[in-house]
Assembly symmetry: C2
Homo-oligomer: 160 residues x 2
Amino acid sequence: MPKEIERKFLVANDGWRAQARAGKRLRQAYLAATDAAAIRVRIADDAVAFLTIKSATPGMSRDEFEYEIPVADAEAMLAMRVGEIIEKVRYAIPCEDGDLTVDVFSGANAGLVMAEIELASEDVVPALPDWIGDEITRDRRFYNANLAEHPFGSWATDAR
Amino acid sequence: MPKEIERKFLVANDGWRAQARAGKRLRQAYLAATDAAAIRVRIADDAVAFLTIKSATPGMSRDEFEYEIPVADAEAMLAMRVGEIIEKVRYAIPCEDGDLTVDVFSGANAGLVMAEIELASEDVVPALPDWIGDEITRDRRFYNANLAEHPFGSWATDAR
């Protein structure tokens, strides 16, 4: 079964920008998020689209099934979503220990910048750049499914 | 956008069996059913599997997006379901006006036998065989997503 092992962090400063490759514009929404699964539609650069099923296990490892679908199907499915459309630009950053990305959110989640590192196993201790801030892997507020229902822009300032 | 136009009926007697082609064993479950969409996994004869997104519009016409997926993925996704696994054998019946099928349910929905006819347009008035019983197209209790949450076997006898 395909597993996704990733750790998530806030970003402490703009140091990552010097290393970032060209960004990819992502629009995504959830068709549903239950106790067991989240069903996501994602469109990248208006050119390619995916339907993704993720198990709802909290923490680093989640089962993930992803299928490429026609962009026109994905556009129509956005209308069947729960919550907001999540808009972000994803930047890839060179990193030895796994795939490191920085997501700069816009729209309802403007102001949020989040780094994710995808690891080959849970035992890998990645060497993290100094612009990496607090770890939020287990903080459910930062799950994209929750950012669709309760966008960053709606959080009370003192709760951030 | 792909549309599914279908009418559903109860079955009044066993007259259909004489015309039925070989049955196909279907196991299916819902990953979620929201006000806007139902997300279904279906495995046919343990040999082929589909992930299907249907809009939740009540009545004859629903948007439907269906993708073939690996059977192993579908088996794993059954564990992420809401409600029961729906088990049924689907029989195709020759019919001039559209695709006519009879579903004989087992498991939690044992006792339910339902006919569906898929039409090219809502204006087609199909010639229906005499074994066709009451129309249930708009009766939400018979939606498969509802049969997963509230199986036929759990209905009170006087509510049937």
